[in-house]
């Protein structure tokens, strides 16, 4: 019974924690995007065109030192864009290291190749290839994650979306993405309220099936609300002249600095590609 009690709180609390996390993450990103730094100064379209190739090349490189250089570049950009390394370490590096480290750990022993050392008690042998494989995976994952997080942290979300149009994303998708992002927070808030009110009512004695029913009913409530919401939003859009085609305002202007940085980024990407072959 205690377990069930603890468990019911666990579910509610864990869900609540993940909602709050998402909200905080978004808030923090908006704060950082307002700061004055290298990436914040660049036109969002330039940022996308400059950083995407670096992510791809981090995935493409076949030499560890090239990936390491790209990672160092990401750190340098973070410093120039006043993104605190502590934040980056907590939010990105540690998470990726834990996850990918856990995943790649067995590869140390499982990859065939000459043994370079062995675990004291178990006697499993670490192979040179296994070690390299683990380092490849971790480095790549860290580098790509750092670049993509930098892109998002230093750009207001609405601008990221509008800038996606340089990748030939149709306007309608850009609009849908923007609205999705907007309503994620409304639904998160809804879900959050639903859970908090449930939490205040639960004294701590719900067995598994009951909890499950409560959880899935919450999803059901949210789904009904979602459908209702989509109908209402449609009416609100139509009321302001929406007839299926959407028109958006994009007000980006590039200057010489954008072009110079773009050229620099592309050159680095090309060099990394060349040396990483």
């Amino acid at each position: 019974m205690t377990r069930a009690g603890k468990n019911s709180r666990g579910v509610v609390e864990r869900s609540l924690a993940s909602f709050v996390d998402a909200l905080e993450h978004a808030f923090y990103a908006e704060e950082l995007a307002k700061k004055n730094g290298l990436l914040q100064k660049l036109d969002p379209r330039v940022k996308i065109v400059a950083i995407l190739p670096l992510i791809v090349i981090a995935a493409l490189a076949r030499r560890l030192w090239v990936i390491a250089v790209l990672f160092a570049l990401a750190v340098a950009i973070a410093l120039l864009s006043s993104v605190p390394l502590g934040t980056l370490a907590r939010r990105v590096w540690l998470g990726v290291l834990t996850f990918t480290g856990f995943i790649s750990f067995p590869a140390l022993f499982l990859t065939p190749g000459p043994a370079i050392s062995s675990l004291p008690l178990l006697g499993w042998t670490v192979t040179a290839q296994g070690l390299r494989a683990a380092i490849y995976l971790i480095m790549r994952a860290e580098t790509a994650a750092t670049f993509s997080v930098l892109l998002v942290l230093c750009t207001p979300w609405s601008n990221v979306l509008k800038a996606l149009r340089v990748l030939r994303l149709p306007v309608v998708l850009v609009v849908v993405l923007g609205m999705t992002y907007r309503y994620i927070f409304l639904l998160l808030r809804n879900a959050h309220d639903m859970f908090t009110s449930r939490k205040s009512r639960i004294v701590g004695r719900l067995d598994g099936p009951e909890q499950r029913r409560a959880a899935t009913a919450s999803v059901g409530v949210l789904m009904s609300k979602t459908i209702q919401l989509s109908g209402d939003v449609y009416l609100a859009m139509r009321s302001r002249g929406f007839q299926g085609e959407v028109y958006v305002l994009d007000e980006f202007r590039t200057n010489w600095f954008d072009w110079a940085m773009l050229a620099l980024f592309i050159t680095v990407a090309f060099l990394a590609f060349w040396f990483g072959r």
Binding site: V11, A128, W157, Y181, G220, M223, I227, S230, Y234
Partner: protein, 363 residues
């Protein structure tokens, strides 16, 4: 199941983006035609819903919790096409904004979870639910099974994509460049968690949502195109089927035909399994890596026999590169996908047929 950046080679990513695009395109055209001007708000809000669902923790038997992708629930309420788009959009926002799943691997993640997940959920739901009443308990079971099957097929695909990486992509020293585990490790490791916890979470969410909606808002389950489209349920689904059927048939045929005769020439399956599965040291390590579940001790004989069957048409004329084991893997995978697709095509055809017979006999 969200594959991060760096786990798949760029060529695999490109291939999967390429595979996903026609589906996105078709889904978009379909949903647009059905929803007309309501498309934008529906997609936006449904995607937000899918996103939020991925954060819900569901209590599972045994005292743990897991969270679902929500693809089962989304497919039952929104239909496979809208669900495919909504889950993809939710994945995109997760990847770009929350760093959950990679940007280069977004195509792969969408293909596994959103596209294949929605289609598998749709066909499972329709096959099990049949033409039962909206409020029948069979629909709850159908939805639960749909969620469970969808998430497991998606996990299998993910495992497969990860598992072929070390086969193709190694550096000069032989170290794997991307995900390091071959299929015989990747598949059991991935499936173990999904056949149990993650699968159950999806099962409970999909079943629970349908049970809840049956009590409170059965109208949502009655019409395939929720949120006010005027089309009636089955014609909408059927017409969707008809317009896209050529696409499917072509894809299935292509997949079935390519590896004919080439598959067995490489005897890829036999090679690695015979070697690895009988090596005691290797077996221990696989067992450890797959969460203490021992892999089968023998290579599956059925497959070996099957491959000799396929090799019959032109064993000698196959070009040399087909003897490369990696090629065999891909061919057999294509073949497997083709089989699955063919199976669903057949099911869809059967359902369609049964539907028309039913409506023919009913007054």
């Amino acid at each position: 199941m969200h594959i991060p950046d760096g786990y798949l080679s760029p060529s695999t990513c490109a291939l999967l983006y390429g595979t996903a695009i026609p589906f996105w395109y078709t889904a978009f055209a379909r949903v647009k035609r059905l929803m007309n001007t309501r498309l934008v708000p529906l997609l936006a809000v449904a995607s937000a819903f899918c996103f939020v669902i991925m954060m819900f923790n569901v209590p599972l038997p045994g005292g743990t919790t897991g969270h679902a992708v929500g693809v089962g629930a989304a497919t039952v309420v929104l239909g496979p096409w809208a669900s495919m788009l909504s889950v993809s959009i939710a994945l995109l926002i997760q990847a770009v904004f929350f760093g959950d799943g990679g940007i280069t691997t977004f195509g792969a993640n969408s293909f596994n979870m959103a596209i294949v997940g929605s289609l598998v959920a749709h066909f499972t739901y329709r096959a099990v639910a049949g033409r039962t009443a909206v409020t029948s308990s069979r629909r709850v079971i159908a939805a639960a099974l749909a969620g469970y099957t969808a998430i497991n097929v998606a996990a299998l695909l993910t495992a497969f994509e990860l598992g072929i990486q070390p086969l193709f992509f190694k550096d000069a020293s032989g170290a794997p460049l991307y995900a390091p585990y071959a299929l015989h490790i990747a598949i059991p490791a991935m499936m173990l968690g999904h056949l149990t916890f993650a699968g159950l979470a999806e099962l409970f969410v999909a079943g629970g949502v349908v049970a809840y909606l049956q009590r409170t808002n059965p109208a949502l389950l009655g019409q395939r195109s929720a949120a006010g489209a005027k089309e009636d349920a089955s014609p909408a689904a059927a017409s969707g089927w008809k317009t896209t059927r050529p696409l499917w048939i072509r894809l299935a045929l292509l997949m079935l035909l390519t590896p004919l005769g080439i598959l067995a020439a490489g005897t890829a399956w036999g090679e690695w399994e015979a070697k690895d599965f009988s090596d005691a040291q290797m077996r221990r390590q696989i067992t450890a890596a797959s969460g203490q579940v021992a892999p089968p001790s023998e290579q599956p004989r059925g497959l070996a026999r099957l491959s000799s069957l396929w090799s019959a048409p032109f064993p000698k004329y196959a070009p040399p590169f087909v003897h490369h084991p990696a090629f065999g893997y891909v061919m057999s995978a294509m073949f497997g996908c083709g089989l699955i697709l063919g199976f669903f095509l057949f099911m869809g055809w059967m359902i369609g047929k049964r539907g028309s017979v039913d409506s023919g006999t009913s007054p």
